[in-house]
Symmetry: C2
C-alpha cells in the first residue's frame, strides 16, 4: 500500500430480504418533504413503488414525485429536478432504482442550490460543490454501478454529445442505501448481465494498473472470482437468492473506493464506453463489454505480468510449460468465454454503432494516463474498429 | 450473503508516511481539551509522542496527560481515566499506541458519564451506552487488534480474573484513525509477529464458520493470503515499508465488520486466548497462537469442507489423489509451518501457563456457539492441555 490516502465511506448499508423495513428508521432522521426519484415506471409494475410510498406515507412524509428519470440522465432533466427540489424545499432525495437514478439524485443534490451552471462547474471544470446539499438516500433495484456507496454521478449532455462522471466527495455519498437482492430479480436478463459486467469492469479498471502486489489487488481478485462464480449460477437460475445477493454485495464493494486505495487506476474502458453511450444510448455495461477485449488485448504487452497474474489468480489458468504471453492471453480467452456465457454484447455493431460514428466516438473519448499504455487518437480509433 | 445485516463504518482512515499531517484538520473538528492516551512510554523514546504533542500545541489544544496505559487495560485504570476525562471535560480522547490504548479510550468514552458501574453495565450485562460519549481518535503504532476501525474494547478485571471485550456500536468507533506504517517499525519483533497473528486469527474466527461460499469468505481468503505473503517479507526485513504497509491495511480490514457480514462467526480461539490472558498477562496475539492449532485440529472433522477449502485457497495445497481429510490437515500443517517461520508462541508453557492453572483458565473461557463444534468443559480442558 504505497502513497498516502484517506479512506472514508460513511454510507449506512442495509442488506437483505427484509432491509426495506430499515427505511422507517432512516426517514426519522430527515424532514417532511421527500423527493421520490425513480425511472421508467417498472417499480410501479413490480410493487416496489407501492411498498416505498406506503412507508413514506406511514412516516407522515410529503412525497414530491420525480419519476421518469431516463437510463442516461440528461443535463436538461438535471436542471428540472434541481428546480423541483429547490422549489419544494426537499429534505431528502430518495432514489429508488439503479445507478442512473442514484447518480441523478446526487447531481440534483449538488445543483439545487448551485450558483452558476452545474454542467460547467461539476462536469467541465470538475469543481467541488460549495453550496448547500440535500441528503441522498436510495433503494437499489439494479446492480452494477456501485452508486449506492460512492460519490459518482454520471450525466449526459446530449447537445454536446458528452457523457461525463463527476466523483463527488463523501458529503454526497448516499446517507443510507437499502439493498434487497430480491428487488434485483425483477430486472430483465439483459440488464442483469450488463450490471454484472459493469461491476466486473469496475474492478478491472482498478486492477489493471501498477505492478505492486498490494492488499487492494488481492481484494480485487476475490471480488472478481466471486462475481464470476455467482454470475454462472445466476445466468442459469436468475431466481437463486444466494447468487444474486453475492453479486449485489460484490458490486457494491467493487466501486466504493476500497480496492483503489494505495494504487494507480486505469478507467480507459469506461471512457470508451461512455463515449459510445453518448452516441447510442446503449446500456452502459454493454458498451463496456463490447470494447473491453480489444482494449485489454491491445495493452496486454505493456502490463504483461499483471495480465499473467490475472490469468492465474482469477481464472486459474495452468502455467506449466507456457510462456508469460501464453498464460496472459489464456486469461483473456477465459474472460471472453465467461462473457459469452453471460450473453454480453461482444461488439459495438449490435449496440448500433456504425463505421461513420467511429471518428466522433474516438474524439469524445477521454484519454486516461493510469493504465499500462496511454492511448493515442489512432490507437483509440483502432480499438473502436476492432470492437465493431 | 444470507440473512439481513447493516454495514456502517464511519471511521475516517488516513494512511501513509505523511498521514500524521492529517491530525491538524481532524483536531479542528473538536474542542480545546484533548486527553492524550498512551502506553508505557515507548512513544516518548521513538519521537512519536513529541510529534503528536507538537501538533496538539500548534493547534492551541490543552493536553491532559493519560499515559502509562498497560497492555491489558484494567477496570481500575478505566475508572481513573473516566474520572480524569469527566473532571477535565475532555473534548476528544486521542489514543496514540496499539489496541490496548484505543480499546481503553473507547471504554473511557462510555464510562466518563456512565450512571452506574461500567464493568457491570458493559462487560457483564453487555448493555449499550445511554450516556453522553466523548469522541475518540487514534494514531496507530502497533498492528493487530483492528481497534482503529471498530467498536471493540477489551478490559481486564484482575480481581475477577476476567478479560472481556464489549463491542460498542458505530457511535464509539474512532472518528478518525491515523495509520503510518513507519510508526509500526518501532515495535519489537515479538510484538510485530504477535500482531500479525492476532490479525490473521481475526480472519480465521470469521472464516471458520458456516459452509456457504459468500463474498465475505473470498475477501477473507484474500486478506489471509496478503498477510501471509507480506509477513514472510517482514520477518526477514522488518524495515520493508511495502510489506509493513500491506500488513497494517490488511489488519484493519480483518476486523472492521466487513468480512463477518452475511455469515456466522466463531471467536472461540479468542475466548481461550482471553482466558489465558486474564491468568498470565501474556501478549494477546501469542495466547491466540498457542491455542489455535490444537483447537482447529479438534474441530476440523466438524468443518471438514471449510478446512479443505482453506488449504486449497489460502495455502495452495495440491489436491491430486488426496482425501478431503488429508487436504484439510495439510492446510493446517502449512499454517503451522508459517507460524513457526514467524517465531510465534507455539505452546502455553512458554507463556507462563502451568498445569495447575488449566482448570481455572477453562472455567474462565466463554463458550461460543457459532463455530463448527460447541465445546464442552472437558473439550476446553483437553485443548488447553494439548496447547501446553
Amino acid at each position: 500500500m504505497l502513497g498516502n490516502f484517506t479512506f472514508c465511506n460513511p454510507t449506512r448499508l442495509h442488506f437483505g430480504e427484509d432491509s426495506l423495513e430499515q427505511l422507517r428508521s432512516e426517514l426519522s432522521r430527515y424532514g417532511k418533504t421527500i423527493q421520490l426519484i425513480y425511472g421508467g415506471g417498472s417499480i410501479k409494475q413490480n410493487g416496489i413503488y407501492d411498498k416505498v410510498v406506503s412507508i413514506l406515507r406511514g412516516c407522515g412524509k410529503t412525497v414530491i414525485d420525480d419519476g421518469g428519470v431516463m437510463p442516461n440522465p440528461t443535463y436538461e432533466r438535471l436542471l428540472e429536478g434541481a428546480k423541483k427540489a429547490r422549489e419544494n424545499k426537499a429534505d431528502l432525495l430518495l432514489a429508488v432504482g439503479g445507478g442512473s437514478c442514484i447518480d441523478y439524485a446526487k447531481a440534483v443534490s449538488a445543483s439545487a442550490y448551485c450558483e452558476g451552471d452545474p454542467w460547467q462547474k461539476y462536469y467541465l471544470d470538475f469543481e467541488e460543490p460549495t453550496c448547500r446539499l440535500i441528503p441522498v438516500g436510495c433503494v437499489l433495484t439494479m446492480v452494477g454501478t456501485g452508486s449506492e456507496m460512492n460519490g459518482g454521478a454520471v450525466i449526459t449532455n446530449q447537445e454536446q454529445k458528452l457523457k461525463i462522471g463527476h466523483v463527488f466527495g463523501e458529503e454526497l455519498y448516499p446517507k443510507f442505501a437499502i439493498l434487497n437482492p430480491r428487488f434485483t430479480m425483477t430486472v430483465p436478463y439483459r440488464q442483469m448481465v450488463a450490471g454484472i459486467y459493469d461491476a466486473f469492469n469496475h474492478i478491472c479498471e482498478q486492477y489493471f494498473s501498477g505492478e505492486d502486489d498490494n492488499v487492494s489487488d488481492r481484494l480485487s481478485e476475490a471480488l472478481m472470482r466471486s462475481l464470476i462464480d455467482s454470475s454462472r449460477i445466476a445466468v442459469k437460475d436468475p431466481q437463486n437468492y444466494e447468487a444474486r445477493s453475492n453479486i449485489m454485495w460484490a458490486a457494491t464493494w467493487a466501486l466504493n473506493t476500497l480496492i483503489e486505495q494505495g494504487k494507480t487506476t486505469d478507467w480507459e474502458v469506461h471512457m470508451l464506453g461512455q463515449a459510445v453511450g453518448a452516441y447510442t444510448d446503449a446500456t452502459h455495461g454493454m458498451t463496456l463489454a463490447a470494447v473491453s477485449l480489444p482494449y485489454y488485448r491491445h495493452i496486454l504487452p505493456f502490463g504483461l505480468q499483471k495480465f499473467k497474474r490475472f490469468a492465474v489468480e482469477v481464472f486459474r489458468v495452468e502455467t506449466d510449460g507456457k510462456s508469460d504471453e501464453e498464460i496472459a492471453n489464456e486469461g483473456l480467452c477465459a474472460m471472453e468465454k465467461w462473457m459469452r456465457e453471460l450473453g454480453l454484447a461482444m461488439n459495438l455493431r449490435e449496440l448500433g454503432v456504425k463505421e461513420d460514428m467511429i471518428e466522433g466516438i474516438a474524439k469524445a473519448t477521454l484519454v486516461m494516463d493510469g493504465g499500462y499504455k496511454t492511448l493515442s487518437h489512432a490507437e483509440i480509433v483502432q480499438i473502436l474498429r476492432e470492437s465493431l
